[in-house]
């Protein structure tokens, strides 16, 4: 069966520090991968998505970047965090031909920038 792993679960980082969040998927090949951010009481904002290794699409101009160095690995990074980067970050995957059928989400990372 397919599983998605996301870590760390919580993170407190000072302003100006770098960030690296990692997401891996098991049990499937060539998944579509997504990074979302959810502010408190708000909806999910799509940040990046990837349909293959090295292929990254950015949805919102921001202080963040994403990379997909391996088929089932998706990394969210920042060189210098801002206070406004605080939020709940979620990784998700879908089968390449079934993206509109729903996503499977990871357990999320609660990031607090102080």
């Amino acid at each position: 069966s397919q599983t998605i792993h996301q870590w760390p679960a919580t993170l407190v980082q000072p302003v100006g520090s770098p960030l690296s969040l990692e997401c891996t998927v098991e049990g499937t090949s060539n998944p579509n991968l997504y990074w979302y951010r959810q502010a408190a009481g708000r909806g999910l904002q799509l940040l990046f998505y990837s349909v293959g290794i090295g292929q990254i699409s950015s949805e919102v101009p921001q202080n963040l970047s994403a990379s997909r160095p391996q088929d089932r690995q998706f990394i969210l990074s920042s060189k210098k965090l801002l206070l406004s980067d605080s939020g709940f970050y979620l990784c998700a995957w879908s089968a390449p031909d079934r993206g509109n059928y729903g996503y499977t989400f990871g357990s999320g990372t609660r990031l607090t920038v102080v």
């Binding site: 909806g43 993206g99 509109n100 059928y101 729903g102 989400f105 990871g106 357990s107 999320g108 609660r110």
Partner: protein
């Protein structure tokens, strides 16, 4: 712009009653509507999907409707239980498997014993 709107006010229901949540979409003609459950501090979990040519879909105590005229989906939980308390997200997707899913902000549901 495309919007998925859900009632931001929390819904409080007595255990055993039917909970009904509303999702409206504007500037959009989705091919699929999806419903997710999200517990505090956790990622959303996919529950149900309904296609635009389907009027109603059921799964155990859950029922979803899709009204393309009203541009609305209703999500029902019958015989509600305190364990059903969570935030429920509505999401919409287009025909293409590459189309990105647009999420609503969710409605928090509380079932009191």
């Amino acid at each position: 712009s495309q919007k998925i709107e859900q009632n931001s006010e929390a819904l409080n229901i007595q255990e055993g009653k039917t909970a009904t949540l509303t999702c409206n979409y504007t500037n959009y003609s989705p091919a699929y509507l999806q419903w997710y459950r999200q517990d505090p501090g956790r990622g959303p979990v996919f529950l149900l999907l309904i296609r635009e040519n389907e009027k109603e879909k059921r799964k155990e105590r859950l029922k979803v409707t899709f009204d393309t005229t009203l541009k609305q989906s209703l999500f029902h939980i019958t015989a509600s239980q305190p364990a059903d308390s969570a935030t429920y997200l509505c999401a919409a997707a287009g025909y293409s498997s590459a189309s990105k899913i647009i999420f609503g902000s969710g409605t928090r549901l509380s079932i009191r014993p």
